[in-house]
Structures are given as C-alpha cells and as structure tokens.
Symmetry: C2
Subunit: 370 residues, 2 copies
C-alpha cells in the first residue's frame, strides 16, 4: 500500500491476540464478557469479537449504540450516565435491543419513569475511588433510594452495579494496579451486599483495561467491560497493562522537513490525527514513539525516537543523530500512539497493511484513503 498522508494502520493479528488473551481470562474466571467498543468503534473489529462468541457489548454514547445495533448487536450497555435530554435516541434503541443503562442519580430514574416507551435494564453506577461519576461506594442511602425506585417501576429492571476504576490510569506499575483492583472489588462487592435484601442476584460489572489486564482473581465479580485492551497503546505500556509488542495500531506519517540544528524531523501528522494526549517518559512529555516498520509488521521502540510535540497538522520527532541522518524527506515514520482510543477517533478509519479499509463510527467526510 502506498501511504501519502497520515494513516492509522491496524495489525489484525495483534488485535485478535489481545482479544484472545482477555477471553481466556474471562473464561477461566467464569465471567460474562461485555467488551467496551468505544476504543475501536468499528463494525468489522466487532465481528472479530462475535466470531469468538461474544454477545453483549458496551459503548459510551447512544449514537455509538445505534451504530452497533445496525451491525446486529442485540445487547448493548451504554456506560455513560443517563443523559435525560436524549429520550428520542433511548426509546429508538430500547425498541430494538436489550438496552442496559447506567444511572447514578434519582433524577435520571424519574426521567426514565416519565419518558421511557420500552423496558430497559439499569445498572447503578458506583464510584469506587475514581471520583468521576457514580454514587460513591459509601453513600448507601442513595444507592438504596435508587434501587427502590427502580424496583417500583414497571419499565425498569435493576441489573446490577457497575464501576469503572478509571484511577487505574494513574498507575505506574503492576503493583499500583493490583492495589486499585483489590479495593475496587472490595468496595463494589460491599455495595452489592448492602442492597442484597432489595434485589438479590445483582450483577457486578467492572471495566477498565489496567485492572482487567493485570488482575487475576475475579472472585465476586460477574462481568467485565474493558475496552482499550483491544489495541493497547503507550499509556498502557507505561501503566504496566501490556508490553509494547501488544500495541495493535500505529500511525504512519510522511517526513516533510528536517532540522539539522536539532536532529528533529517534522512529520505530516498532528493533533488532528493523533489527538493530544501525552505521557511522561524519561522526564519529558511525549506524544508517541517511533518504531521500525518491517515487512511483517512494526517492531518495538528501540532507538528512543519520540514525538516531541504536536501542533494542528505538524508533529516534531526527536531522533538520535545517526537515525536523523538516515531519514529522508518523503520517507514515512511509524509511530505508536499514546492513547489509541483518541487517535482512532481523530482518524475516523483504519487501514490494514494490505490496503483494506476498516470502518470507524467517527468516519469523516474527508481525508479518506485513495
């Protein structure tokens, strides 16, 4: 395939290996698998899960739910606090699929009771320490109030409790992840036990890539919904969730300028392509790492070449002098992204090394290949 502009390549083999590894964990722990599709947002990649027997998925918006409903998925969890302004979309979906919604406040239950046209399932979202959304694990009265309101409603079934331990993204080692994993399990299991008399047999679902990748003992947990693991990225390498050879997507970008004074090259590939997440690496904020592109796929970072900065369309890559001298204007560099979810969203599609187009929900009307 001839690459002439920033292109997001997907390595199908690495991606399927990542899925396989998580499936093994799911099976060996007797878990229900609800993979989060917000990372890949692709009908084709969704098929790779379906082929392996996955039946229920998780998404982060109603629009994304509709995209996957169209692809034939029949059980969808929208893992985002219910937006009471979108009942048109909610009712359209609830008519077609088994819809699981997340709620963390009584106002949302009241709105469902008033505006819902079809039956839905509800998870109570629990904040087990991330502090982003969810009823705090120790706010027992609020959890009970919501559970009772759901049980009173003829349109709603309480499905379980759900928690995203997003603070695991601040981990810097496997040990950090294990600590967060233990506390997350303990807290959400306690919440379930406290409302057991109101609703027995509730499902506990947790979902974040670090704890699901590194955690081993899922006793007491019923379902998991990680997303990023399908691709992984440098952030997950730094956290300790994976190794860099697991990363299943990479940007390929043309070299357009060389700065002999700094041994830096400018690539066509900026914030509109990578998005703008950075990670601290050896004391520097970096936006990606360069890897060697081989015929069989890309390697792992081995020469310390990294993306130093991103502006709208420009990326500045810092190279060792020897590497700099070996790069020519018109070459392409392969770059592992910091945060694959946001890079995929910014790009809006993938290409296989063989030149096949892979869909993404955020596909743009511009900059398509060819």
């Amino acid at each position: 395939m001839k690459i002439s502009k920033p292109t997001l390549l997907i390595d199908e083999q690495k991606c399927k290996a990542n899925i396989e590894r998580m499936l093994q964990k799911v099976e060996s722990n007797g878990l229900k698998f609800r993979p989060h599709f917000k990372t890949h947002q692709s009908k084709l990649i969704g098929e790779w899960f379906k082929e392996r027997g996955v039946e229920a998925i998780t998404v982060s918006s109603l629009g994304m739910a509709k995209y996957f409903e169209e692809a034939g998925w029949s059980e969808i969890t929208v893992a985002f606090p219910l937006n009471v302004l979108q009942f048109d979309e909610i009712n359209e979906l609830a008519a077609k699929v088994k819809l699981n919604l997340l709620v963390d406040n009584i106002e949302a239950i009241n709105a469902l009771e008033k505006q819902l046209a079809h039956h839905v399932f509800v998870y109570i979202e629990i904040d087990t320490g991330a502090g982003r959304t969810g009823v705090r694990f120790d706010d027992t009265d609020v959890v009970k109030e919501i559970a009772k309101a759901i049980n009173k409603s003829g349109k709603l079934s309480l499905k379980g409790v759900y928690s995203h331990a997003g603070h695991s993204y601040n981990a810097q080692s496997k040990e950090d992840i294990h600590t967060i994993f233990s506390l997350t399990k303990k807290r959400i299991i306690e919440v379930k036990e406290r409302i057991n008399d109101l609703s027995p047999d509730l499902e506990i679902c947790i979902g974040d890539t670090p704890t699901c990748s590194v955690g081993e003992d899922f006793t007491g947990i019923n379902a998991i919904s990680p997303g990023n693991f399908v691709f992984y990225d440098l952030m997950q390498v730094f956290i300790g969730s994976c190794v860099s050879s697991d990363i299943a997507v990479a940007m390929v970008c043309p070299v357009v300028s060389k700065n002999v004074h700094t041994s830096e090259v400018c690539i066509y590939g900026g914030a509109v392509h990578f998005s703008k997440d950075s990670e601290n690496w050896e004391g520097k904020d970096i936006f990606g790492m360069v890897v060697r592109q081989e015929r069989s796929g890309w390697g792992i970072p081995d020469n310390g070449a990294y993306v130093k900065s991103l502006s709208q369309e420009h990326g500045i890559v810092k190279l060792e002098k020897e590497e700099f001298d070996a790069v020519d204007i018109g070459d392409v560099l392969t770059v592992l992204p910091i945060h694959s979810c946001l890079t995929a969203e910014a790009m809006g599609y993938y290409m296989t090394p063989g030149g096949d187009f892979v869909d993404h929900y955020a596909q743009k009307n511009r900059d398509l290949p060819g």
Copy 2:
C-alpha cells in the same frame, strides 16, 4: 434550538467583529490579507471573508485547499512543508487555482521540478525562532540554494519568504508578544535582504494570531496570514491576544451527573468533542471555562467554574458550592474552549444559536444535529 448533546455554537456577530478588527489592521498597514482557514475550515465562514473583499486564503493541508477551491477560492497558500508524496493532489490543485506552496529544503524543489504538471508559486519557509519548520533565519547558504533552484525552474516562481512565529503561543503577556514580533520582523526582513540580488520584490508573509493581534507596526512586512483570531479562545486570552468577550465559539454540554462530595458535575462533552489541549490557570491545568448563557449570547467567565478534566466522552466541571446547588441534571452548561481550532476539528460542524448548521471540512458521518 433544543440542545441534547455536545454542540459547538458559533456567535456570528463576534466572529465578524474579529474579522473586521483584523481587516482594519490589514488596511491601515497596507498589508495583503491571506487569512488562515485552518481554524474555522468552513465554506460559510469563508464567505464572511469574501464579502469583505478577501481574495487569497491560507490552509494547512491539500485536502483543505481542495475544499475551499470547490467553494470558489482562486488563490490558496498551503502553509505546510511540501509533502513530496502528494503530487496527485498538488497537480490537481495547481491546474485549478493560483497555488502557493511552502518549501524549506532542496529535496522538495527537486521533487517539484520532476513531478509538477502546472506552474506554482513558492514561499521559502523561514524559522525565525519557533524551531518547528523552515530554514533557520541564519542559514543563508540554504536559503540562497533554494532560491537559485527555484529561479532556474520553468515551473516555479519564487513568491517570497514566509514565517510562522509559533513560539508566540508561549507568550504570557502583550510584552512577550511584542518582543517576539520585533525579532520575527527583524530576522525575516534580513533574510529577504540577503537574497534581494537573486530575487527582488519578494513578499514577506507572517502569520500567527498573537503577533498579528497585538502588533502595530508592520513596516517591512507585506502580508499576514493569522487564523485563530476568527474565533479566538481561552489560550489566546491567557497569551494576551484578546479578551474573553471576543471568543466566538462555545461548547454547550448537558449535565449528566452531580458529585455532592466535590461540588463537581459531569457533562456530556469529553476529549472527542473538545480535543485535549489544556492551559495553566491559577496553578491548575484546565480544559475550558463555564460562562453564563443569555438570550443574546454567552457572557464571560465570572464565577471561576472550569473544566477540570476530560476523558473520552466525560467532562468534569468544578463549581463553587452555590453554583453547584443551582445546577440540575438535564441542564446544559456553556463552555469556552481552550483551543478553538482543535475543538472545531473534533466537532466537525457548528450550530448558530438560531439552529442553523454551519459546515466544517472535518464533518463526520455521525453525531450530526437532529
């Protein structure tokens, strides 16, 4: 207009006032105006420039150039180092418009000479201190080598020297901006003088919003190509380029969750909507500031409410206790963006407060209004 999901509003009056102010500066200094359209990327907003007599524009990619060629623009500068892998696109454009390209290396000239099918104009890009791209201002031999190669070619005309003083984005006061402006002018004027014997009558074009907004004396400069000024944003307020009442775009986002322990609310509006630029404000990295939405438009930040963090679809807004108590689930908050160029790109369209759709080159196939 009923807003039910993250929506980027545009205030036409503020936008036109920003255009008008820059036009006055252009006229009073006898400059050629080559506004950079990478910020708005909109055919409709382009018309607002055309109505005021603007004839030449600047863009940051060949795809964007094509988008505006289709809208009738006939002189287009692509202010990005020539990508020698895109001659299909270059030749298609060069057949249709007066095309000005930027070059900072001899390899690009050689590629033009070999693969160009139509005549184009060339600016030599000069690095006057930003260190991103361009021949460094004191690399006189390289500038001369490129100028000579252009002059030898029958397909190329040397148009001038171009510099983007992007380091003005690190300014923290008007004084900083003035310092950068003075040095930029001095350095690029010297470059022009050094090749005056090779090519007289070259144009000097500079383009960055801070220096073009704050600078007053443009003696020696022939043309300017700022872009961000059309909307401005919080980054430009912090730099000192504008005041917050100049900001012409704002995100409107539904409130989906309230955290009584922290006085924070979660809005539907995350990194996929705002992009991910942050700025330091009062010792904190922030991702946006909340303003009051009035019938006549939005106000300026007055209560210190700010976006504390962004994940993929979630935004966390920190409020004072009193403001927190006044916000309900299902309300919408209006948020000024940190970096309007990237927010507009991430959103892919605008809405007027009256509910009219405004196009953007990055329009997605999803999440359109209605």
